[in-house]
Amino acid sequence: MAEPVLQLNNLSVSFDTSSGEVEAVRDISLSLNKGEILAVVGESGCGKTVMSQSVLKLLPKTSRIKQGRIIVDGEDITDYTEKQMRRLRGSVLSMVFQDPMTTLNPTIPIGKQITESISKHTRVSREQARQRALEMLNLVGIENPEQMFALQPHFFSGGMRQRCVLAIALASNPKVLFADEATTALDVTVQAKIIDLLLDIRDKSGISIVFISHDFGTVARIADRVAVMYAGKIVEIGTAEEVYYDPRHPYVWGLMSALPSLTKEGEDLTSISGMPPVMLNPPLGDAFAVRNEFALAIDYEEMPPMFQISPTHSAATWLLDERAPKITSPISLQRRTEV
């Protein structure tokens, strides 16, 4: 079996602030294969963005990788210097951000922003870079690329800008693309088109994508595998099918039951009560315990390990321990599984 393109081994990232250490990412392990789309889902503040930016080392100086290894394409990049990272950024690892209205430089023409990304990593003539940039614009579905090439971003709509950002991110054939809430700021129809575009690009180029989102609906359309994060930890990870149809972690149950599509007409929408914890001095034990109606005594004392459910599916909850009482997922979720 081929080696994964991206591997995180027990990665922890903390921020040193004046009021103490904020543990944004805690002990995350995951791997991503070539051509695979892994969705990372979680509430805001759960560490999704910090996790992805720590791989590209885009985080501010106050952050540090506390422990763990980042392995890209078989190479351990955890201790890479800024200079070494620059060579990887764009050419091996690339990123698309949430708000296309602000992620493009407002005064530089689109074409130049793409060619910059190309000439950074390959020795090409101006004309070659231009040709490649036009190809990229074509690939991401911008019509009349020749004409658009010289225009500044303010001539473009949000959806078109996100396409341009994608063109920039993909211009040097990266192996892994981090799409950090890449569709969140777009309206629903544009969202669907960008997702189709991402899938299309994956099929054509075999790129691996880490798709960060808080929207289960969007994720369902795109993901091969899904990782659910809570309070800086992955609480459940598995193939999309496993996580959607056989979730094991009470937090994922909560999230799933909150989906409006699972609510019958006339019923109130369900929600998970309480608030996610502040990651300054995170609670002992399972961070979700206080909001968990199925919490066990041990949840308050010891962090649950990852329990393997199938070779691809694991979840971190004490409910999966053999000594735990057997609790099945809530009725509303079973309702869907039956359909």
Binding site: L56, L58, E82, R86, R87, L88, R89, G90, S91, L93, S94, M95, F97, D99, T102, T103, L104, N105, P106, T107, I108, E116, S117, K120, H121, G141, I142, E143, N144, M148, L151, Q152, H154, F155, F156, S157, G159, M160, R163, V165, I168, A169, A171, S172, V190, K193
Partner: protein, 338 residues
């Protein structure tokens, strides 16, 4: 064709605005100068005014156009000005234009050099500080810069004269050139060094700090993350990406700062006895030399307003989004695919 029409329309609008601004300025200064206490005849006749009779004084007032209500004086003055007659300088007893014209060059030379140096140095310093944000060098420059900015320029001028002219005798203490050497560039530069040092030190950090903070604002923006994630290094981000977005702001700051730097020039001129219109402005206000004062004010006003208009035009070229009230003509319709 359409484009040409809008441009000429805009130009006419600007010129009208320009004339209106200068008109309001002249009215304001004219009134304030005349309402200020003091007697212009004192500067015209000197001590002889003490021994003049009331009738003689009245006759002199009529002759010099100092009689009647102020609005009549103003209308007389402005009709003369429109014919190119700026009146007599009461202090120097020659046409005001003749007093001013040899000095304009001196002021423009000193002020212009200072202005360019201040902004070139401020931009370089700001880029350097932003590039090395929060390092020891940046922090030292910030502290030293702030301290330097708060040194009063007149005091600094006197200290510099004491050190470099009197003790070391390296540089001249006053004037724009030695007698008979008005064409000698080296001699002029020698005379300009001390005034320039004072002006640069008293303006540099103010603008460098402003530009530095603008740059830091830019560095925090989202597009920097994208630039970083495509492999740009810090230099490229600061110099190529961020500087480009700060450039219009720098041009705006430069335009707004013209009065500030000009007033700095006036102070430096007074301290170093540099013959320029700044020193003249102080003198003319002191002696109630109305005609001279009005001329100096007009020159200063035209300089300030026209440069700020030019700056606006440059801004539009750098950043097309800044066009004032332009109809959105070429917003491309969302392509059918997105």
């Amino acid at each position: 064709m359409n484009r040409k029409a809008t441009i000429s329309k805009k130009l006419i609008k600007r010129i009208l605005g320009f004339i209106l601004t200068i008109f309001i300025l002249s009215v304001g200064v004219f009134y304030i100068a005349r309402l200020a206490p003091g007697d212009p005849l004192q500067s015209y006749y000197g001590d002889a005014v003490e021994s003049m009779t009331t009738a003689e004084l009245d006759a002199a007032r009529v002759r010099l156009g100092l009689d009647g209500p102020i609005y009549l004086q103003y209308s007389k003055w402005i009709s003369n000005v429109l014919q190119g007659d700026f009146g007599l300088s009461l202090k120097y007893k020659t046409p005001a234009l003749e007093v001013v014209s040899p000095l304009i060059g001196n002021t423009l030379l000193l002020g212009g050099t200072a202005y360019i140096l201040v902004f070139v140095l401020a931009t370089l310093l700001a880029l350097f500080c932003a590039r090395n944000e929060d390092t020891l060098v940046d922090r030292i420059i910030c502290k030293v810069g702030t301290a330097a900015y708060y040194i009063p320029p007149f005091w600094l001028g006197v200290v510099l004269v004491l050190i470099f002219s009197i003790n070391l005798q390296w540089l001249p203490s006053s004037g724009a050139y030695d007698i008979g050497k008005s064409g000698d560039i080296l001699n002029r530069i020698q005379h300009m060094i001390l005034p320039l040092v004072v002006m640069i030190l008293s303006h540099l950090w103010y603008y460098a700090y402003m530009i530095r903070n603008k740059l830091l604002d830019e560095i925090r923006k989202d597009y920097v993350l994208l630039a970083k994630s495509k492999g740009c290094n810090k230099d490229e981000i600061v110099f190529k990406h961020c500087f480009r977005n700060v450039a219009p702001t720098i041009v705006s700051i430069m335009a707004i700062s013209i009065p500030h730097v000009l007033s700095g020039t006036y102070i430096a001129e007074s301290v170093f006895n540099y013959p320029g219109i700044g020193a003249l402005a102080v003198v003319s206000a002191k002696y109630h030399d109305y005609n001279l004062l009005m001329l100096v004010v007009l020159i200063t006003g035209i300089l300030v307003v026209s440069t700020s208009m030019i700056a606006q035009s440059i801004n539009e070229v750098i950043d097309p989004r800044m066009k004032l009230k332009e109809v959105p003509t070429c917003r491309i319709i969302e392509s059918s695919s997105s």
